[in-house]
């Protein structure tokens, strides 16, 4: 027997419970500046589709909400793909090549250095998500795997490699032998 659709109060409580997670996920998918918009759109779509919820437990809504957010985020990025290519042509920073166009990251507002922002932007969305969900919210990899619908080991591997890439980027940047070109 299918559970009764969430009423407004139940939906609010469930969404609030997962809101912070969705926001970090949205940041990983579309950038920090648009995370709030994506989360709002996720809420709207989720409310419209609340009749499809199969579990009455609000705690189980995380993967469902995450799926909506990721799908919306993917469409979001396809529509807003910037045309400009990085004109500076930085040397590869260790394992981090020139960041792929598509993830707008306002590193200045975020307070991150260029050396950290670039390798972060260079990560695939899934890897960036695994890293941020673990580093920012402290989620375990089992939970991250459920949210992203990937195995726990895969989530752990993504996060480990992401940290390695960032460490190497920072190490390379800090090395006196590195000729890093600063952004104008």
């Amino acid at each position: 027997m299918a559970p009764a659709p969430l009423d407004a109060e139940g939906f609010t409580a469930a969404f609030a419970r997962h809101g912070r997670t969705l926001w970090v996920l949205a940041s990983a998918w579309v950038g920090r500046a648009e995370a709030d918009d994506l989360v709002q759109e996720t809420a709207r779509v989720a409310w419209q589709r609340r009749a499809t919820i199969t579990s009455p437990d609000p705690a189980e809504l995380g993967p469902w909400l995450s799926s909506i957010a990721r799908n919306l985020g993917a469409n979001w990025r396809r529509k807003r793909r910037p045309d400009a290519v990085d004109p500076v042509g930085l040397d590869p920073l260790g394992a981090c090549a020139t960041p792929p166009i598509g993830w707008p990251f306002d590193c200045d507002r975020a307070g991150l250095s260029d050396e950290l922002a670039r390798p972060l932007a260079a990560l695939p969305e899934v890897a960036r998500s695994c890293l941020l969900l673990n580093a920012v919210l402290g989620l375990g990899f089992a939970e991250i795997g459920r949210l992203l619908e990937i195995p726990e080991n895969t989530a752990q591997s993504h996060a480990r490699r992401a940290r390695l890439a960032l460490r190497e980027a920072l190490t390379t940047a800090a090395s006196p032998a590195t000729t890093a070109v600063r952004m104008p």
């Binding site: 809101g19 912070r20 709002q40 975020a110 580093a135 960032l166």
Partner: protein, 210 residues
């Protein structure tokens, strides 16, 4: 902006420092922010007037009224798409008045008034023949809307009298460009109308029911 110093930090220490930087950069809003967001999404839309439905209903009503106004009124045996009764009666009056000296061509001078009215209108009618108004006969000319019509003379003036059942009675309007007057009298189940020039006498006074 800050970055980890290039010193022989252990990898776990570097990771902790990285995580700290990421937490500062990607700190999400408080839970209440998302509760408010969800409440806005789940809030039911304000009820709106069904303006479209109302407009459609009003338009349908106007169309229905327009169509209803165009339909001829059901007046039983007296009206089936005919010209107005007043116009027919005036035409009959003009016809009868043209026969000023004769009257025979448009009248049945030997008619039985009582029998004719009983047959057409369901009740008999009599005329006493007294006074200045003479009953010439029943009118047999142009259509008069299904009622019984009589031609009468008052001195040199022509008077047409039209008799119908009271159930078929309705306001009679003559063409405005004619200086004719209409008299009316109810007798039993009948209603009588007279059409003539202003005469100063009641053309219907001599009638009675048997």
């Amino acid at each position: 902006m800050s970055r980890p110093d290039h010193d022989p930090m252990s990898e776990p220490q570097q990771d902790r420092q990285l995580d700290e930087l990421l937490r500062e950069a990607f700190a999400p809003p408080r839970e209440e922010h998302f509760a408010e967001l969800a409440r806005d999404v789940a809030r039911p839309a304000a009820p709106t007037w069904p303006w479209r439905t109302l407009l459609l209903a009003a338009a349908a009503l106007l169309v229905a009224l327009a169509l209803w106004n165009r339909q001829p009124r059901d007046h039983g045996a007296l009206a089936d798409g005919l010209p107005s009764l007043g116009a027919m009666w005036v035409a009959a009056y003009d016809d009868a008045a043209r026969d000023a000296g004769e009257h025979a061509s448009c009248c049945d001078t030997g008619c039985d008034v009582e029998q004719l009215c009983r047959a057409v209108c369901g009740q008999g009618l009599c005329h006493d023949g007294a006074g200045k108004i003479d009953l010439v006969g029943s009118y047999k000319g142009s259509p008069v809307g299904g009622c019984v019509a009589f031609v009468m003379r008052c001195d040199d003036a022509t008077v047409c009298v039209f008799v119908m059942p009271r159930r078929d009675d309705r306001p009679i309007e003559l063409p405005r460009d004619r200086e004719l007057v209409v008299g009316r009298r109810e007798l039993g189940d009948l209603v009588l109308y007279s059409v003539s020039r202003p005469l100063g006498v009641d053309a219907l006074a001599g009638f009675s029911v048997p």
